[in-house]
């Protein structure tokens, strides 16, 4: 298989498994998507859907054991990241690709000054003097709206929102081409979330960074992404442009998600929950992974692997029922 030359990042048929006490947990089951340069791609799904495993696979920071990338290719500008040796991969991490983690409280070193933590990243990837690195780190802090005089403060002296900015400054310090943002605003209050999202949008425009945004919050994804994939039980169940998914959601899981969330826009007397629970990833149902909870499932959904079907140009849906209705 060769890489699609137009896309900046191309993931093909990624499979990640965890082994735990003899059983195999199927976290990511054949995920493929691509990201164009300068665009933002969203991965939406609930706890345990496999979103974070996908991001960690791209950076190759999955803990092995228990995690194993069983299959797949991850092309960054045509080069398969899964084939690069560890030494070269280290040069890519933090420089070409960097990641913002969900929990700003635990992602920083508590006994190191925040400025130093940013400086460290810069020094690691550039051959510059400490003085220059320090200046750069100071500039990064200012960029995310933290006054330079707080360079010598420790993480505990910052609020949650400010810590998350420090993390973002660190992730952007070497001007990465690809930013993996894993629930970057989930731990924050809404008014602070709004500040951080606005800042990410602004920085993206200024620096032209490509981004993968992981979130369980449909509103956050609507705010920041160009295209997105809905992930369920380790599979992409629906994928397309933001307009396609938000205006013409097709997969029963996606429409179920929209119906289940209360919103400020419409009054619902009663929410429509998705019945049942997500499947046990060590014992996934055969056929469609969603059929036990699906309101339109039929016998045919229980058999064989359901393919991702293009139901309109660029809009894919992993549901044979919907595909039959559309055609």
């Amino acid at each position: 298989m060769t890489a699609n030359l137009n896309s900046f990042l191309e993931i093909k048929d990624l499979v990640v498994e965890y082994t735990s006490e003899g059983s195999v947990i199927h976290a990511v089951n054949g995920v493929s998507f691509s990201l164009e340069r300068g665009k933002t791609f969203g991965l939406v799904g609930e706890t345990g859907a496999g979103k974070t495993s996908i991001a960690k696979a791209i950076l190759r920071i999955l803990p092995d054991p228990p995690a194993k990338i069983k299959n797949g290719q991850i092309f960054l500008e045509g080069e398969d990241l899964l084939k690069i040796d560890e030494k070269n991969m280290r040069k890519i991490r933090g420089r070409k690709i960097s990641m913002i983690f969900q929990d700003p409280m635990t992602a920083l070193n508590p006994i190191m000054k925040v400025g130093k933590q940013i400086e460290e990243v810069i020094k690691l990837h550039n051959t510059i003097s400490s003085k220059q690195a320090r200046e750069e780190a100071g500039k990064m802090l200012e960029l995310v709206g933290i006054p330079g005089e707080r360079f010598n403060d420790y993480p505990h002296q910052f609020s949650g929102g400010m810590k998350q900015r420090v993390i973002i400054a660190m992730a952007l310090a070497c001007n990465p081409e690809l930013l993996l943002a894993d629930e970057p605003t989930t731990a924050l209050d809404v008014t602070i979330q709004a500040q951080v999202l606005e800042m990410i949008n602004k920085l993206k425009q200024e620096l032209g960074t490509s981004m993968i945004m992981i979130s369980h919050n449909l509103g956050v994804v609507a705010d920041i992404c160009d295209d997105l994939a809905v992930v369920y039980a380790g599979e992409v169940v629906e994928m397309g442009s933001k307009a396609a998914i938000f205006d013409r959601a097709a997969h029963p899981y996606t429409t179920g998600l929209f119906a289940a969330v209360p919103t400020l826009e419409e009054e619902k007397d009663r929410l429509a929950p998705i019945s049942g629970l997500p499947p046990d990833p060590s014992n996934l149902p055969l056929g469609c992974h969603f059929y036990p909870r699906c309101p339109i499932a039929g016998e045919e959904c229980k058999l064989g692997k359901i393919p991702l079907i293009e139901i309109e140009a660029g809009h894919f849906c992993r549901c044979i029922k919907i595909a039959a209705m559309e055609s």
């Binding site: 609507a222 307009a243 929950p273």
Partner: protein, 318 residues
Amino acid sequence: MSALVEVKNLKKYFEVPRGMLHAVDDVSFKIESGQTMGIVGESGCGKSTLGRVIIHLLDSTDGQIFFEGKDITRASRRQLRKLREDMKIIFQDPYASLNPRFTVEQTIMEPLLISGKFSHKASSEEAERLMDMVGIDQRLRLAYPHELDGGRRQRVGIARALALNPKFIVCDEPVSALDVSIQAQVLNLLQDLQDQHQLTYMFVTHDLSVVRHISDHICVMYLGVLVETCESKELFRHPLHPYTQALISAVPTIDIHHKRERVILQGEISSPINPKPGCRFRKRCIYKAPECYQAQELVEILPQHFVACCRAKEINHL
């Protein structure tokens, strides 16, 4: 309708090394019987402390708490025991709030046995009934919390709260730890239980969409202070306090064609320790003026719509 719960000038201060932390500062409101009062605000605004003070998990510093018209602020131990049957709480994290060594049945039976009203056998039967009520399968009777998923754990927390037929339940972020598809199941359950048993809720949350969905009335809190209160629909139709306006505008919308006009607040919530007099929001407020340095009163600006902002009329062109 009458007020089941009423608080008047309620205060809760904590002594901390740097001074007095004003967690709840001079808060007054009523909750009508059978209704849901939503308490919304960001972390550190005192909303959880408020719930805990009302049900006497924490002692108040000053002010009064009324339950069914009686002043219960300084209730004796004996009175508290009876009160605790009528006032319950559901916590945010169902994992941390359940005893890991208790089975589902033991957890639900505990308050029944403590009350002294149930024999062991009767409490076991009652636990069975409560499990049915909240939709936990009987086969999970002997399961431990770690064997349950988040949604079921929260149902156990709800069943425990329903034991002894309470009248009033403080729901402290009961769905924040749950995924959206499960969150909807639990919110529907809470609404059904309220209808069936005429329960009165105080629903504490940071999530505006959830609070709008579930509440009849809403109180918006900022740094321990009640800044705006009115009917739920009215609040979202005509938010009058600059903080409420910014808060609502900050919620990311799933309507991709009608982006909300965002008010991006500068800075962050300031410290609740030894707060300076005057409006606590003024540091971040875009309408800040000299009069904001004076104490702010909760004023009825529109019928049944109270706002603690001296400029509310002017900035909303009323």
